[in-house]
Amino acid sequence: MIDAMLGGLGALSEGVRVLLTTGGPNVIMLAVAGVMFWLAIAKGVEPLLLLPIAFGCLLVNLPLSEVMDAGGVLKCLYDFGIGNELFPLLIFVGIGTMTDFTPLLANPRLLLFGAAGQLGIFITLMLALALGFSKEAAVSVAAIGACDGPTVIYVSNMFAGMNKIPTAMVGALAVAAYSYMALVPVIQPPIMRLLTTRKEREVKMTSPKGKVSKAALIAFPIVVTVITGIVAPKGLPLMGMIMLGNFMKVTGVVPRLANAAENEIANISTLFLGLAIGGTMAGPQFLKYETLMVFGLGLVAIVIDTVGGILLGKIWYLLSGGKVNPLVGAAGISAYPMAARLVQTEGQRWNKHNFLLMHAMAANTGGQIGSVMAAAIMLSILKGLGII
């Protein structure tokens, strides 16, 4: 009987023994989870995503945890919604309902900032290849330049499903993408000031002319979906879902569905996606040299995105005879509406009578379309090259 009791006590202390003997990487990841909790709770850094990711990270790194083993709760969530790319796509439906394309339709030329804002994707791809990443891993890392978490998860998980990149890398990519999205207000302003002159920053842009009809707003998501389907069919699920959400919103005939997509569906998908991504962050698989490289290259990608947008803005400034404020180019990334608000704030810092918000919102929604389009085009090129 004493043996049985000792055996029972031994089982209860097994977790401590494992943690002390072979749990070094797990202890580090528990600390990482703690940092993510602090960022989400105390600093308000992307709490919707970081909180569940951190909790998933906590669950998977506790000793003897079985949450990511076959039949484990996080493994089930992963297989149900990440392994088949379902959750990122459902979140995209919600993002579509939250996006207002009216400023873009009123000023369509600003969509081109959404293309320039993707420069970081392709430059980072080259850098990652030069640093020895495989083609698939390089594309996944470059996708951080889309500045769009669901896109990064969609692209990287596609490769993880083909066993072209390790599953743990999906977690690293997701955390890097969401972290840098949250850090856009820290990353962008110094680059804006460095690349523009005071005279350029003070440029006051005229208000966009003309209103947009409801019919045009309704036709827009259909047009974009059809164009994506024809040009880059591999990315059609990404663009199709974001446009579906927007279509439901602008038609106004399915308010219950639009409301559900914006709230319940997006919230549930975000929770499950965060937990499942956190579940991929098991210490022994996560703590690798490549993870540090992913974070470094992700930062480079977002910096180059900003540089690309501002440089196009400067060219536009010259061509327009000084009528376009180059700061608007910085909004050509997908961090919506954060990047647009940042441009407005920065513009007003240098000219109190400057109202760049509507122009920046147009560039920012252009960045959303641009980031998804860039990912879609990358996937279609990979398909064409026979890589996927």
Binding site: P108, S213, I377, L385
Partner: protein, 47 residues
């Protein structure tokens, strides 16, 4: 395919394709705004 060729293919075709597709969408938006103009009577009704 070696990494250099792959990288340049993605850079040129990818960035070029993104730019060209977004330019195409810009043209489509202009067409949409022309085909579906704001009806003046809506403005009058609000007044």
């Amino acid at each position: 395919m070696d990494n250099l060729t792959f990288g340049f293919t993605m850079l040129i075709v990818g960035m070029g394709g993104t730019l060209a597709t977004l330019f195409l969408i810009t043209l489509c938006i202009r067409a949409l705004v022309i085909f579906f103009p704001v009806r003046p009577e809506h403005t009058e009704e609000k007044k």
